[in-house]
């Protein structure tokens, strides 16, 4: 039932896209399209939740399209239901937000048709149940988002971003295609059911794992395949950036789980090594890059990379436990990962919405051009602050809950027999802790520079609060952040069917623990109660405030800032984004992104201002991509000489080919 409904929703998305295509330029179309997407997404969300919580048996559907003699298979089980919910939750929020935000679009006809198509693509990926329709929808998703990245195509950087993006996406698709064709074999078992039925040999399975890691990693932004992400995500309109960062990367995570946990069969213990290493490394690299960005949306994109790293680390843990038959622990790890998927979809969307709001209000994305917005945009700032706290994994919000679960899973590592994993997992834990702390630093910087302090530009001074649709979208998601943070038990129970499907085991039921506490393993081991912590803090904060205001003075006087006695009126004396990240850059930067600071200090008497220039690189780019492109260009240049031969020389090519073949025949014929 719900599968049919979702398929209808997909159809509705496509129809909306068509409508948008036909009447793209009209003013009203924008509201119409986004409103429609909102409604469709809502209904799809309902259907998905129904499928997830009503834990009904998995549903199948076959359409007479796609690969002939097989047809397009679609399938809805607990795993796809969860990600379906994520997709459509994000979609609904984006739709709601864009009803207001989309009105500012300069060329709506370049956005409107592709937005619903993008949503349709993501829905289809999650539902597809044969390799062809999976890759088909996968690439459809990529193409639609590519078109959205190129929405503002006048900008050179955006075009470059779009190009890098689509090439990387095609690379990923081809990797996945190879992985699938390994599993489907020469006789063409193209449906997932057939693939499950044939367990591949260990070597094949290992190759599949590697290819899956490449294919999904390139879409999710796993280092070193992440370079396109900070280019492409910011280039798109903000509600699309939210979708790409918050949702599309999760679709990639889905693909990884589907391939590695579901299709390819029982894992070997060492499978988790690459996943864990990639995850931990990606987390740290991503957040460090985020820390030095000065463009808000780029910063958010890099932080997406970090969160993907966290998720993959969780998946790696689950693999490790699963391979050793520790199903309970595996369930815990997978729950943590999925919980984080959910959280990241929430707060990253809020943050991108906030970025969009700031963009509409000020027209600036550069941190050093902003500041003081907490006065001009009070409501937005509250929601963004909530998201910042959540993404920094601070209690009592949801980011902390998932991180806490991950740590609990890491603490179960002594049960693993293999020494490599025993030693690796705590190290990965250290990386996760490091990235969490750095995330806090990163978002202190972001929020502090953008919303606090004094405006650094006229644009920031004149900023005004954004429309109610956008605020509404942010409000909903921020509220969910808080709820999921103080009531994590419910989320865990909601995830249980999915985990059950992927692992074959689940975490203990949290709903029947009293006081809404969550106890992942045993009460003597660890427990956490977000609600109580939240209540305690509010309680003690309010009583202290009450007591002080009641017993001591409540007098307030406004005065200029003291600033150690020499206040300076110019806002430019504030700490800038670059200067804020300087200590971090000094500590980590010299190796990780070859940051170089060059100070140009004029001699005494010279009136010129002193200048500090900071240069930094993305090592993945310098180390892998530039050499690759260079070598391709070099080869192209060499081959290109063949364009300039004379007719005689071309003839000699033919002649040589003939002689070669004849000789071969003479020798072997």
């Amino acid at each position: 039932m719900s599968l049919v409904l979702v398929m209808w929703c997909v159809g509705a998305y496509l129809i909306t896209a068509l409508v948008a295509l036909i009447s793209g330029r009209r003013r009203a179309t924008s509201a119409l399209v986004y409103g429609a997407s909102l409604l469709i997404a809502m209904s799809a969300l309902v259907a998905a939740l129904f499928a997830l919580l009503g834990n009904q048996t998995s549903l199948d559907m076959t359409l007479p399209i796609g690969l002939p003699w097989i047809g397009a298979h679609f399938h809805l089980d607990a795993l796809s239901a969860f990600f379906l919910a994520i997709v459509n939750l994000g979609a609904a929020a984006a739709g709601l937000y864009a009803i207001g935000y989309g009105a500012h679009e300069s060329e709506p006809q370049r956005v409107l048709p592709f937005f619903p198509a993008f949503l349709a693509g993501m829905n289809l990926v999650v539902l597809a149940a044969d390799t062809f329709s999976f890759l088909f929808s996968w690439e459809l998703m990529s193409l639609a988002s590519w078109a959205l990245v190129l929405a503002h195509h006048k900008d050179e950087d955006n075009r470059r971003a779009g190009y890098v993006y689509i090439v990387m996406a095609s690379f990923g698709t081809l990797a996945l295609l190879l992985a699938f064709s390994l599993m489907s074999g020469a006789d063409g078992f193209f449906t997932f059911a057939d693939i499950r039925a044939h367990v591949p040999s260990p070597n094949i399975a290992a190759a599949v794992l590697a290819l899956a890691l490449m294919g999904t990693g390139s879409k999710a932004g796993l280092a070193p395949l992440h370079v396109w992400l900070p280019m492409a995500h910011p280039a798109a309109p903000s509600h699309v950036s939210a979708l790409m960062s918050g949702v599309m990367t999760k679709v990639a995570v889905y693909a990884f789980i589907r391939l590695v946990f579901d299709l390819v069969g029982p894992p070997g213990w060492w499978w988790s090594l690459p996943v864990l290493i990639a995850g931990g490394g990606t987390a740290v690299i991503g957040i460090l890059h985020a820390l030095i960005q000065t463009d808000f949306k780029r910063l958010l994109a890099y932080s997406t990379i970090e969160n993907i790293g966290l998720v993959f680390a969780g998946l790696g843990l689950a693999l490790a436990f699963e391979a050793d038959g520790l199903h309970a622990a595996a369930a815990l790890a997978l729950t943590a990962a999925l919980f984080h998927v959910f959280n990241h979809a929430l707060f990253k969307s809020v943050l991108f919405f906030g970025a969009g709001a700031v963009l509409t209000a000020t027209g600036r994305r550069n941190l050093d051009a902003l500041g003081g917005l907490i006065h001009r945009m009070p409501v937005t700032s509250v929601f963004v602050l909530t998201a910042c706290v959540a993404i920094s994994a601070l209690p009592p919000l949801n980011g902390f809950a998932s991180e806490w679960l991950t740590f609990q899973a890491i603490l179960l590592s002594p049960q693993i027999p293999e020494w490599g994993l025993k030693l690796l997992i705590p190290a990965v834990g250290a990386l996760l802790a490091l990235s969490a702390a750095l995330a806090a630093a990163c978002f202190v910087r972001a929020f502090g520079i953008i919303f606090l302090g004094r405006p650094r530009s006229k644009a920031a001074e004149r900023a005004i609060e954004v429309d109610h649709w956008s605020l509404g979208a942010m409000a909903v998601l921020a509220g969910l952040c808080v709820l999921a943070g103080i009531l994590p038990g419910f989320v865990i129970d909601a995830l249980a069917p999915t985990v059950q499907y992927a692992i074959g085991d689940r975490m203990p039921m949290q709903a029947d623990v009293d006081w809404l506490t969550i106890i992942p393993v045993a009460a003597s081991r660890s427990s956490y109660n977000g609600l109580l912590v939240f209540l305690f803090i509010t309680f003690s904060a309010s009583i202290s405030a009450y007591a002080i205001h009641r017993l001591a003075s409540r007098a307030v006087r406004r005065a200029p800032a003291w600033d150690c006695g020499f206040p300076e009126p110019s806002p430019l004396t504030q700490y800038s984004a670059v200067s804020f990240s300087q200590p971090i850059r000094r500590v980590y930067g010299t190796i990780l992104f070859r940051a170089k600071e060059t100070v140009d200090m004029p001699p005494p008497g010279d009136m010129r201002p002193a200048r500090l220039v900071v240069t930094q690189h993305d090592l993945a780019w310098d180390g892998i991509y530039s050499p690759l492109t260079r070598s391709v260009q070099f080869l192209a240049g060499q081959v290109n000489r063949l364009q300039f031969l004379t007719i005689r020389q071309y003839l000699s090519l033919v002649f040589l080919a003939l002689i070669l073949l004849l000789t071969v025949l003479a020798i072997w014929g």
Partner: protein, 316 residues
């Protein structure tokens, strides 16, 4: 009955930490002064300061936002809750299950988060300096702390403080625990902004971290922040106490005498801690800000080493 008693113990603990915190700070100052051959202020001086500050009016910078005004209460609450959950004199606190060691650390983290934001709110250069240095320090101190938790939890199989304390009484001497202890002390020094990381007694612009953030605070806000700082110090001391010398802790639902002994033991631990801290601070010099990372990464390495050594020592 049990619940009532439990609640009582919990409430007692909250009040105890709140009342003892300024005293501890005063004590440290006093001992330091003595070691420096000065008379120094009396240990109760911090209480006087607090009262004085509370009476004063608050002077707010013009563009200070609501965040600036509410931060003191938030960080105070967070730290207080955290301190209330660390067993000081009695194990098995009523609400100890609502948060484990990781949560306690994270609560301190959120306190720091808001303090740093508040530092940036007024938009002065010093606030920015303080905030950026603070988060830089934290970015190393927190993982180190988590690693310490790991090595404890991997050993005890729990992150639950009461349980942990109970377990530590039984465990013998271990290399990794030694490493963890050293690392914990280093982290504690850094987190509380003591010498050699930071000097709570100075306002010398270029060296200050914590003070730079709270530069714009005054009156009751400042009072709360001072109180929070001393609470934090107390928290770390009692943490070290309850994890590494957990003797004298009253068991859950013990007799009144146990509780009395527990309190005494706690006081003793605090005094010893204060003495050691003062001694340490007088013997060492403040280090440059950019040496701090080395210090902390040393702590991080130690703690990680401790966590890894566990397996080795286990397998032996």
């Amino acid at each position: 009955m049990g619940v009532i008693a439990g609640l009582a113990v919990q409430a007692m603990q909250m009040l105890l930490v709140l009342t003892l915190a300024p005293l501890l700070t005063g004590l440290v100052r006093r001992i330091k002064a003595h070691l420096l051959r000065r008379r120094g202020p009396s240990p109760v001086q911090p209480y006087r300061d607090l009262v004085r500050l509370l009476r004063k009016e608050v002077v707010l910078a013009h563009n200070a936002s609501w965040l600036f005004r509410s931060t003191p209460y938030m960080i105070f609450a967070a730290t207080w809750v955290a301190a209330a959950l660390v067993p000081t004199f009695a194990a098995g606190l009523q609400f100890s299950w609502s948060a484990d060691l990781i949560v306690v650390i994270a609560l301190l983290g959120s306190g720091r988060f808001f303090l740093a934001l508040a530092g940036m709110d007024v938009g002065t250069s010093f606030g920015g300096i303080g905030a950026s240095r603070e988060v830089m320090i934290a970015s190393l101190a927190e993982p180190a702390m988590i690693m310490i938790v790991f090595s404890l939890a991997l050993l005890a199989g729990s992150t639950q403080l009461s349980y942990l304390a109970g377990f530590m009484t039984s465990v013998g001497l271990r290399v990794s625990l030694g490493l963890a202890l050293i690392a914990l002390v280093m982290v504690a020094i850094a987190e509380n902004g003591r010498i050699p990381i930071d000097n709570p007694a100075t306002h010398l612009e270029l060296t200050m971290v914590h003070e730079a953030m709270v530069l714009e605070y005054s009156g009751r806000h400042l009072a709360l922040i001072e109180l929070t700082a001393s609470l934090k110090l107390l928290l770390y001391m009692s943490l070290i106490g309850c994890v590494f010398l957990p003797w004298g802790l009253a068991p859950a639902g013990g007799a009144p005498l146990d509780y009395f002994i527990g309190i005494l033991a706690f006081l003793v631990k605090l005094t010893i801690g204060a003495g050691l801290l003062a001694l340490f601070e007088t013997t060492i010099a403040k280090m440059r800000v950019f040496r701090v990372p080395d210090f902390l990464s040393a702590a991080l390495m130690l703690s990680l080493l401790g966590a890894l050594l566990l397996f080795v020592s286990r397998s032996l």
